[in-house]
């Protein structure tokens, strides 16, 4: 048994936690000493109180945002993987379509969200489409890169054994692409949440949404700043949890062999 302080996991959890507690304390004390009014900049305790008071409505909003995020993330994973598979089938397909994937990536979602929200009647669906567009690119580019990054020695071994295209894909390309794919998942999960919130903002200004972004907008109109911060807090927590889940998933899948997931003992 190692002493608690030297344990890797303990330090990784405790150190950022300690920083957070100190920051919160400074924030709280600073606000109190400077007697900054709540409508300008609320104290952590105000935000916490608001979180409790508006609990049910915030939670409902969170669930809506979360649903859109997860739907978009799932759609991005499925679509992105399929597109990546298509890309590696032939250089011609990739060369002719990849620029459009980049186009998708560089177009700001706030610019096209209004268009999508008008075109797609169902609000839920239109928001999901927006978030999917934001989350799609990392999956495409990472998975394509992974499927292409085959160890040349192994590739010639497969060729020497006259392995079929399908067998080479299943036994060589897909396993080799997993580390890249999981890297894509991490980035994409956060982007799906950002995409969902941004799309909600755009839709919310038209009064057609009810997610966390709408809560923030609504609280802003009513100058209920603590509620605004409470909603923001929920978005942040959701993002962190999503990221954590992806890290855990990738650990679970790669822990045995990939350098990125090897523990300290390796």
């Amino acid at each position: 048994m190692k002493p608690l302080l030297q344990s890797e996991t303990f330090v990784r959890i405790a150190a950022p936690l300690a920083v957070g507690v100190v920051l919160l304390a400074v924030w709280e004390i600073g606000c109190r000493l400077g007697s900054i009014p709540v409508y300008l900049f609320p104290k952590p305790s105000d935000i916490f109180a608001s979180l409790i008071k508006n609990g049910p409505s915030l939670l409902r909003a969170l669930l809506i945002t979360l649903r859109i995020t997860l739907q978009a993330f799932a759609a991005a994973v499925v679509l992105g993987t399929l597109i990546a598979f298509m890309f590696v089938q032939s250089r011609a397909i990739e060369v002719s379509l990849f620029p459009y994937a980049v186009l998708l990536q560089v177009t700001p979602i706030v610019a096209i969200a209004p268009l999508i929200i008008i075109l797609v009647k169902n609000t839920q669906l239109s928001l999901t489409v927006c978030a999917t567009l934001v989350a799609l690119f990392p999956i495409i580019s990472n998975t394509t890169l992974g499927l292409r990054s085959v160890d040349p020695g192994l590739a010639s071994y497969f060729r020497m054994n006259r392995a079929s295209r399908l067998k080479t894909l299943v036994r060589l390309r897909i396993p080799g692409a997993l580390p890249y794919f999981f890297g894509g998942l991490r980035i994409s999960s956060g982007l799906a949440l950002i995409g969902a919130v941004v799309a909600e903002f755009v839709a919310g200004t038209g009064g057609r949404s009810s997610g966390l972004a709408y809560e923030i907008l609504d609280a802003g109109f009513q100058l209920d700043i603590p509620r605004m911060f409470a909603a923001l807090f929920l978005i942040t927590v959701t993002g962190v949890l999503l990221f954590g889940a992806m890290v855990g998933l990738s650990k679970l899948a790669l822990s045995n062999w990939h350098e990125s997931e090897l523990g300290a003992e390796a």
Partner: protein, 282 residues
């Protein structure tokens, strides 16, 4: 064009011995010119009898790997032809005519355990699990890694990974084993150990082996015949037969005859590396 083979009595001896057994591989005036114009091999004639342990040695870039790949049917000769068991490449892979190639690197799948890695060629050939598994554990046992069958490659040392790679070749039960500097990246102690294992395997399994190395000691220790190649263009410079009792062990390495073979081979290699040994004067 070809350097004439020296007409010393050794060659008569080789000819007699090779005639004893049917050929596994015949290289018939095979030449290789790469697409970029590099003349890697001048027409080469070489007959490898069944059960031989033939080693290719020579200066870097003289075409050893190219010749081995021709024999493995991985690349095609520009001219001339190669026969396997007196027939064309169509019969390679049939019963009793299996071929396995061991690369310089272990080339293992990092995500798969040792046994899965060794089973790969059988999986690719659609051998059912029930038939494949005993062969896999047998091959792993032969290279002495039974205790590590469930390990991942990253948990093994370089020498152990190379042994996994050899087990993977053995699992297909090859008749012809082709190895391109398989132990080149290992320290001398590990290399000697693997050489001991290899010569035992070769002897027990009656494998025909074509081996590429840069090490004079390794060549003398393992081979029944050593072919020294010269460069520009690659061609056979001289051939040395090592007619020593089998299976060989440390006592052979320590013998005076071993030292004598090494000395002579080293002289030949130096001659083969001289510019004057070059056939092509631009």
């Amino acid at each position: 064009m070809n350097a004439p083979l020296p007409s010393d009595p050794l060659d008569a001896h080789i000819a007699r011995r090779a005639a004893d057994r049917p050929p596994a591989v015949e290289v018939l005036s095979a030449e290789k010119i790469f697409a970029n114009g590099t003349r890697a091999l001048a027409p080469i004639d070489l007959t490898i009898a069944e059960g031989e342990f033939l080693t290719l040695i020579g200066p870097s870039g003289c075409g050893k790997s190219t010749l081995l790949k021709l024999i493995a049917n991985l690349i095609q000769p520009s001219d001339g032809r190669i026969l396997w068991w007196r027939g064309d490449s169509g019969q390679v892979g049939q019963d009793g005519r299996g071929l396995a190639f061991v690369f310089q690197e272990p080339t293992l799948m990092p995500w798969a355990r040792v046994d899965t890695n060794v089973r790969l060629p059988l999986d690719l050939a659609d051998v059912p699990r029930g038939k494949a598994d005993p062969r896999v554990s047998d091959a792993i046992a032969r290279v002495g890694l039974s205790a590590f069958a469930r390990h991942y490659p990253r948990q093994l040392s370089g020498g152990m990974k190379m042994r996994v790679s050899i087990a993977r070749a053995l699992a297909t039960d090859p008749n012809l084993l082709l190895m391109d500097e398989p132990f080149g990246a290992l320290d001398e102690f590990t290399r000697n150990k693997l050489d001991d294992d290899l010569i035992k395997l070769w002897w027990e399994r009656k494998l025909t082996t074509v081996f590429v190395t840069h090490s004079i000691y390794e060549a003398v220790f393992l081979s029944t015949r050593i072919v020294v190649l010269a460069a520009n263009p690659g061609r056979i410079f001289r051939t040395m037969t090592i007619d020593e009792p089998q299976p060989r062990g440390q006592d052979f390495r320590d013998s005076a005859r071993f030292a004598a073979y090494c000395r002579e081979l080293s002289t030949w290699l130096a001659e083969a590396s001289l510019p004057s040994a070059s056939g092509a004067t631009p």
